[in-house]
Amino acid sequence: MPVQYYIYLALALFSIGIIGVLTRRNAIIVFMCVELMLNAVNLLLVAFSKVHYGAAYLTNKTTDAGIDGQLFVFFIMVVAAAEVSVGLAIIVMLFRNTRSVDINFLNRLKN
């Protein structure tokens, strides 16, 4: 399958994530959209990694090109997990104090 399909899919997921972050009002859903952005990047990295491997394989059968892309994905997953743990804690803290997870609450500081 050509790599373009993967790029389009990843960009579509990424755009859905961005639009979600900018338009949704529920903190948890905004948070999920951020995760969607990260996962779109993961998909893209794996696809590119495969492309680079395929290109290098034509000249060298024992190449390890493209491995760093897949390694990066693991790091993104780990960091995303760390972010989730902190983020959910913050959202729970907010919920305890206000009984809501609505982003509109965030306008209060402006005054």
Binding site: V34, M37, L38, L44, V79, L109
Partner: protein, 462 residues
């Protein structure tokens, strides 16, 4: 490598300290000693006296510049903890964790000052940011702190997503995460694939998020205003400077080859940052919020270094980081103990606490860039670096920069006016003699660097 490993180790060590002792003052002192140790280790690393050797497979490149910035960051953190340690331990029930998180932030900063690989840059930014989300929300019962934490967290992870997308696109076109290979040279940028250009722009905008430059500044005033005063001072100074160092590591050497495109982009960013930061700061009634906007304006000045990309700029950004951090830490050390953050709250501070008012005035003058303070030479180096590039846009930029420095003098002097020339009885809580002397040392440092900036700069070359 010392700074990276030992700061993380110290963090873990401090975490266990809180099991051993419940005495907050003891924990504060241990943190101070640990910071001093970290500083010594980093200096030992700089001059090759003693260092931990790790084969990083070319993922890190340790330069004098990076080491020196680490020293500045650790030293200013030391000053920060020495001045505001008592406010840090008052925020929550358990004191140790805040110091632990500060050490982890320093670990991230050490990575950011020496990375040579986009993977390490990403990890550095995350190691720096995630503890900050927690520190922002440290005041758990305070709604403003909650709100700031959520906002900072959502905006921060959003910008992380954008940064990662940029990295992925660069990887797609280059097949490597190595900075030397990824950053395009001049021939490449003319025929660079669209994906690569988009990737560079995405990474650049994500970094602008982190240093709170316009048009990605909108989270900054709310977050700096909402988080506990001690931590907003930490975030505004050391962390922001680290963002600049990361940008310089990333773009500095290749910027020359991208010059025309790069400089026009930066020109727009600098002008909008200066306009938004300075003009909005004029209308603020709360000093804390005014400082938040002023930090955006100062970020605009620090961006001059990126515009110029020469050796003067490199010296200048280090000096600016030190001067700006010291001054802001001084102002916030006083602000954190004030009853009232608004301008009225500062009325008559010179009568009730002459020493605090004096130090505050010195720091504010430094931020405004008045001669005989460190801030003057910081701004001077920035403008000199831009003039050295010799382009017409550079001259225009310098003139605009000077004009906005004049605007900034207005809102800094308003605080000085409130302290010295207005009647009122402003209250400052628990001012101990040691706090006063520490503040005085800070003021002396600010003035000393203003009289002989060479003492700091020349370290860079030894």
């Amino acid at each position: 490598m010392n700074a990276i490993i030992i700061s993380a180790l110290m963090g873990v060590l401090l975490m266990f300290t809180s099991i051993a002792t419940k005495n907050k003052q003891v924990i504060n002192n241990i943190a101070l000693v640990a910071l001093l140790f970290l500083l010594i280790c980093n200096i030992a690393d700089t001059y090759n006296w003693w260092s931990i050797k790790v084969d990083t497979k070319n993922m890190f490149v340790f330069t004098k510049f990076g080491y020196f910035f680490n020293s500045i960051a650790i030293a200013t953190t030391l000053v920060f903890v020495a001045l505001s340690g008592n406010d840090i331990i008052k925020i929550g029930n358990y004191a140790a964790e805040y110091f632990v998180l500060i050490f982890f932030v320093l670990c991230g900063i050490a990575i950011l000052s020496s990375f040579n690989n986009l993977l390490m840059m990403f990890l550095g930014i995350e190691i720096m940011s995630i503890p900050l989300y927690i520190l922002t929300g440290a005041d758990k019962k305070n709604l403003k702190s909650n709100e700031a934490a959520l906002k900072y967290f959502l905006m921060g992870s959003f910008s992380t997503g954008i940064l990662l997308m940029g990295i992925a696109l660069l990887y797609g076109t280059n097949g490597s995460f190595d900075i030397q290979q990824v950053m395009p040279s001049q021939e490449l940028i003319k025929h660079a694939p669209l994906l690569e250009v988009i990737g560079l722009v995405l990474i650049f905008s994500a970094m602008l998020f982190k240093i709170s430059a316009a048009p990605f500044h909108f989270w900054a005033p709310d977050v700096y205003d909402g988080s506990p005063s001690v931590f907003s001072s930490f975030m505004m100074t050391i962390v922001k400077a680290a963002g600049f160092i990361a940008l310089i590591n990333l773009f500095f050497y290749k910027a020359e080859s991208l010059a025309h495109l790069w400089r026009i982009l930066l020109f727009v960013v600098i002008i909008t940052t200066l306009v938004i930061g300075n003009i909005t700061a004029v209308f603020q009634q709360s000093v804390k919020r005014m400082m938040a906007y002023s930090s955006i304006a100062q970020a605009g000045f620090m961006l001059f270094a990126l515009y110029a990309t020469n050796d003067t700029a490199k010296e200048g950004i280090l000096f600016y980081a030190a001067a700006y951090s010291l001054a802001t830490i001084g102002i916030f050390a006083v602000l954190a103990r004030m009853d009232d953050y608004t301008l009225e709250g500062y009325n008559g501070l010179a009568k009730t606490q002459p020493m605090l008012a004096f130090v505050n005035a010195v720091c504010l003058l430094s931020l405004a860039g008045i001669p005989l303070t460190a801030g003057f030479f910081a701004k001077y180096y920035m403008l000199a670096a831009v003039i050295k590039t010799g382009s017409t846009i550079g001259i225009v930029l310098t003139i605009i920069g000077v004009l906005f420095a004049a605007v900034s003098a207005y809102y800094y002097f308003r605080v000085i006016q409130a302290m010295y020339f207005k009647e009122g009885n402003s209250k400052v809580d628990n001012v101990t003699p040691s706090f006063k002397y520490a503040l005085l040392v800070l003021a002396v440092l600010v003035i000393f660097f203003g009289i002989s900036p060479d003492t700091l700069i020349s370290w860079f070359y030894f």
